[in-house]
């Protein structure tokens, strides 16, 4: 008897290279987590379960054909913006309203926007002539600004940055003219002093302390100084797994969340950091390669911008741990402890896989 399988179920459409690199990063992340959590297997297990959920999400999304995703795109975007507005009104969270409590689960609508913004801009630019006309550029900017501003005022600068960057990359890959790019970059720089009055006091403090950590070495500057000590003490080869002395014993705050790279640097040294960065570069490169294989404009833009967004994660987190960027909440992708961002990232990779796996049907 022949079992009829719906076409969208079929065989898994996973890119083996991308999958391999992802598993490598996640596996390494769990190994580091064991050390960073003070050899607490329960923490590692919790993180493994989250990553497992993320992989499942990736698998499911990879089976959804791109044209279905495309149909959903505006709805996901609008839904995301509505959720952000809801967070504004009903949000929970200490100090910042980021979470929406749905009774059973609490989640951050801002995470959805990390995917929805590039999807929406890609969807919007897809039928237009590229490089985009000025009008298209402004519409795209509006698409990315609305959620970015909503996220920034939660306030969550890190996520706002990622949302804005993901949208910006879509525009960049769509062929935004260099001249326009320079003008926008210039305007953005000039706007920074204008943003200052709208920042919350703690955000200003973070920026001030970043510019001069010695101002408050025992308060917020503590994170930066401790993190630098941990990184610097690692040296070239590192102290070895489980042998970090700086990053253990609570010296580094949030050491298994945003500052996990400090643990890696201390235990695996410069070599470990270099290898890890290389794996991330390979992931990004593979993503851009997949994008260039795709014939469909919107899909191509989406895959490309999702890949480049990964770069922002790594760069901002790495720079923050090394004390060259202020402490903004950007995790080290797939390694930092915490489920939400990992699931979002893997959902993004699911879309990339789907576009990759379905590419022959598009042409």
């Amino acid at each position: 008897m022949k079992i009829r399988v719906p076409p969208w179920l079929g065989t898994p459409r996973l890119d083996p290279v991308l999958l391999g690199l992802l598993l490598l990063v996640m596996g390494f992340g769990l190994v580091v987590m064991y050390s960073a959590s003070g050899q607490d297997m329960a923490t590692v297990n919790r993180q493994a379960i989250r990553l497992g959920v993320g992989l499942l999400v990736m698998l499911v999304i990879s089976q959804v054909p791109p044209h279905i995703l495309s149909i959903w795109t505006p709805w996901i975007y609008v839904f995301g913006v509505v959720l952000l507005l809801a967070t504004w009104v009903f949000g929970v969270g200490r100090g910042a309203q980021r979470w929406l409590d749905l009774g059973i689960i609490r989640f951050q609508p801002s995470e959805v926007m990390k995917l929805a913004v590039p999807m929406m801009i890609a969807w919007y630019l897809h039928p237009r002539v590229l490089p985009p006309a000025l009008k298209s550029v402004f519409v795209s900017l509006a698409i990315l600004m609305v959620p970015s501003v909503l996220v920034a005022r939660q306030p969550d600068l890190g996520t706002a940055l990622l949302v804005a960057a993901s949208g910006g990359f879509t525009l960049f890959l769509a062929g935004l003219r260099w001249r326009t790019l320079v003008v926008f970059a210039g305007t953005l720089m000039a706007a920074i002093p204008l943003v200052w009055p709208f920042l919350k006091e703690y955000q200003r403090d973070r920026l001030r302390i970043f510019l001069n950590p010695e101002v408050d070495p025992l308060g917020d500057g503590w994170n930066i100084i401790q993190s630098k000590i941990a990184v610097g003490s690692g040296g070239v080869t590192g102290k070895g797994w489980l042998n970090g002395t700086q990053s253990h014993l609570e010296f580094i705050p949030e050491h298994h969340t945003d500052f996990v790279l400090a643990v890696i640097s201390e235990e695996f040294g410069l070599i470990g950091v270099a290898l890890l960065l290389m794996v991330y570069v390979l992931l990004i490169g593979r993503g851009l390669f997949i994008a260039s294989l795709v014939r469909d404009t919107g899909s191509r833009l989406l895959v490309g911008s999702l890949s480049l967004t990964l770069f922002v994660y790594v760069l901002v987190n790495g720079a923050m741990v090394a004390g060259i960027l202020p402490v903004v909440g950007v995790p080290l992708p797939l390694i930092s402890y915490g489920g939400t961002s990992a699931v979002t990232l893997l959902a993004g990779f699911g879309m990339m896989m789907s576009i990759y796996g379905h590419r022959k049907f598009i042409s």
Partner: protein
């Protein structure tokens, strides 16, 4: 993605593909460059600067330790140190390094005297420090204890004796109610302060100036990056950022005047507040009895604290700031001024005192202190002899609400705004107040006695002194200040701090104010004055007003129980004074609880205080 067949008519897929590929290449190029840049930063940290962050042994580690700023010193206005930091030693434990805490403590107890309170407060603190933070177990170790520990140090991993600066108040109880004291940082403090700046700090101002000026006195913590070995010993200092010491404070208190007032009160509970009317600075602020603040610095034992609580006269209660007293006749100058300024009387208005005053239609007499009465009196002679009838009648004409409105300008019934926490507001009654607070109408008889400062009126000694300063200042009202000057770290000269002006009472007729002061002058210097005794042999001319407060209730807490009241039925003695009359440089309020009459009990205290200020005053420089 979906096919947009129609719209793609103008699109050139080939061109777009090429455009994308060039952009992707450019993007990837940027990615690689940035990643290399980031790696360069890690190279710098991990190779170039590695030495700075590395330790000589695997088991050692680099840690950042707070450098605690020295707490600012406090001086009196003549440069005497009234709060200082003395070198001392404390015993600290780092919980993380201790295998078993209880046996260690037992062992330590054989060398260093440890009682249950040391252990309890240590265990309480533990929750608020991280495992690698040193937690103080006992402060202010004796020299023997330090020596015994030093010899046996090797036996106590995780315990250490460290030097620190301990707060000391050389004048003890004399200044407790001004300075307050510092004490161990507790959980409520930790929740309140900037944790970064207090990471190494173990003490904080609890009350008084020490609390009110905590921010200035504390200073800013520094830090040092040190390499420590397994047991936490510092092996070398890698980097250091010095702390910024706390600001030194100069208070306007003159210890000599404070002492004179203190001694003048003798064993009787009471309060003296002296203010310089020219600038609103407080020269003396005495509340007696007091207690030794030094006991609180090292953590007072429950036993010692109970002993203070059990001391008669409530030493913990700051009478100068929140003791509520009936002002009695000391309110008369203010009521008299109100009458003049409201045009109800003039300086020539005469009233006949027969010994008793009656409200029309009522038979209850309101008495003068002289049974046969004082005869015809004007305002000045009414003040001189403290003639109640004059003020009974004036109060009736004025009405309680006008009295309330005029007197409130002097700060009666409201906080003075002094720069130390915990002052009381007193009470200046009005029709509205009585309706709101007691839900009762106002009765005429209450207006009559309000005219001589009795009934509902409640003032604090500080309010009374400040109101007097306003009166002799022609209506200029300052927020009284204890802080006289500050000297921040690294600054050569002390910066003078001036009391802010709270308000200027409108002066309708300067002569009115002069007449009241004239009346007060006659209290001391007139033939029939009620306080002539204190002027004898004085080298300056004093003016004042006596007062007697009926003891019916000390304050809102009901300070004494009924049995005590039976033993202390004597009235409170009050006296307000200023001197020299020609150019007043001090305004003073004295209250002696159960002292009897103001002239006998309170005025001599004022005399002693005035002498201390006016006989020794030479200049006003501040020399910390």
């Amino acid at each position: 993605m979906i096919n947009y067949a129609n719209e793609q008519a103008m699109k050139d897929p080939r061109e777009e593909q090429l455009l994308f590929e060039s952009r992707a290449r450019a993007g990837f190029f940027v990615v690689v460059i940035c990643m290399l840049g980031l790696l360069g930063r890690y190279f710098w940290l991990q190779v170039t600067a590695h030495q700075q962050f590395s330790t000589r042994s695997e088991s050692n580690r680099v840690s950042v330790r707070p450098v605690v700023p020295n707490r600012g010193l406090i001086y009196d206005r003549r440069g005497r140190v009234i709060a200082e930091n003395l070198p001392a030693y404390r015993l600290e434990i780092v919980a993380e390094k201790v295998q078993q805490l209880e046996p260690l403590l037992d062992e330590l107890a054989t060398l260093i005297e440890l009682n249950d309170e040391h252990r309890n407060s240590f265990n309480k603190s533990r929750r608020h420090y991280r495992v690698f933070d040193p937690i103080p177990l006992k402060l202010n170790l004796s020299e023997q204890e330090v020596a015994r520990f030093a010899v046996n140090r090797h036996r106590f991993k995780g315990a250490d004796v460290v030097p620190y600066l301990s707060r000391n108040y050389p004048y003890g109880e004399l200044l407790t109610h001004v300075l307050g004291y510092v004490g161990r940082l507790d959980e409520r403090d930790i929740a309140r302060v900037d944790q970064g700046n207090y990471r190494g700090t173990r003490i904080i101002g609890k009350i008084g100036i020490e609390q009110f000026r905590e921010t200035e006195l504390h200073g800013t913590s520094g830090y040092e990056q040190v390499e420590t070995n397994v047991s936490g010993r510092v092996l070398r200092v890698l980097d250091r950022q010095d702390a910024i010491p706390g600001t030194d404070l100069v208070l306007s208190i003159d210890v000599a005047v404070q002492r004179a007032a203190w001694d003048g009160l003798g064993e009787r509970p009471g309060s003296v507040v002296a203010i310089d009317p020219t600038d609103g600075s407080i020269i003396a602020l005495v509340s007696k009895p007091a207690y030794d603040p030094n006991a609180f610095v090292h953590g007072i034992s429950q036993q010692a604290y109970q002993a203070i609580l059990d001391t008669p006269g409530r030493p913990l209660f700051n009478r100068a700031l929140k003791g509520g007293y009936e002002p009695g006749s000391t309110l008369k100058p203010f009521v008299g001024l109100a009458g003049l300024e409201l045009d109800l009387i003039n300086t020539q208005t005469r009233v006949y005192s027969s010994g008793s005053f009656y409200i029309d239609g009522y038979s209850r007499p309101y008495r003068d202190w002289k049974e046969e009465g004082h005869g015809w009196v004007t305002l000045e002679s009414a003040l001189e002899q403290s003639v109640n009838t004059y003020f009974y009648q004036l109060a009736m004409e004025m009405g309680i609400d006008r009295m309330h409105d005029y007197l409130s300008q002097f700060g009666f019934g409201s906080l003075t705004g002094v720069d130390v926490p915990g002052e009381g507001a007193g009470l200046l009654p009005s029709r509205q107040w009585k309706r709101a607070a007691r839900d009762e109408p106002w009765y005429p008889g209450e207006t009559v006695i309000a005219g001589i400062g009795q009934g509902f009126n409640v003032v604090t000694p500080l309010q009374l002194a400040n109101a007097l300063a306003v009166l002799i200042n022609g209506g200029k009202r300052y927020e009284p200040r204890l802080l006289y000057a500050t000297k921040a770290a690294g600054i050569e000269r002390a910066q003078r701090v001036r009391a802010p002006l709270a308000m200027q009472i409108p002066v309708k007729e300067a002569g009115d104010w002069q007449a009241v002061l004239e009346g007060m002058d006659r209290v001391v210097n007139g033939v029939r004055g009620t306080a002539t005794g204190i002027a004898v042999d004085a080298r300056y001319r004093t003016a004042g007003k006596t007062g007697t407060a009926q003891v019916y209730q000390l304050n809102e807490d009901g300070e004494y129980n009924e049995a005590d009241v039976a033993q202390h039925l004597r009235d409170h003695a009050l006296f307000i004074a200023f001197a020299p009359v020609e150019v007043p440089r001090i305004a003073i309020a004295v209250i002696v609880e159960h002292g009897g009459t103001g002239s006998k009990a309170a005025a001599p205290v004022a005399r002693a205080t005035l002498d201390a200020w006016l006989d020794q005053e030479t200049g006003m420089e501040v020399q910390p």
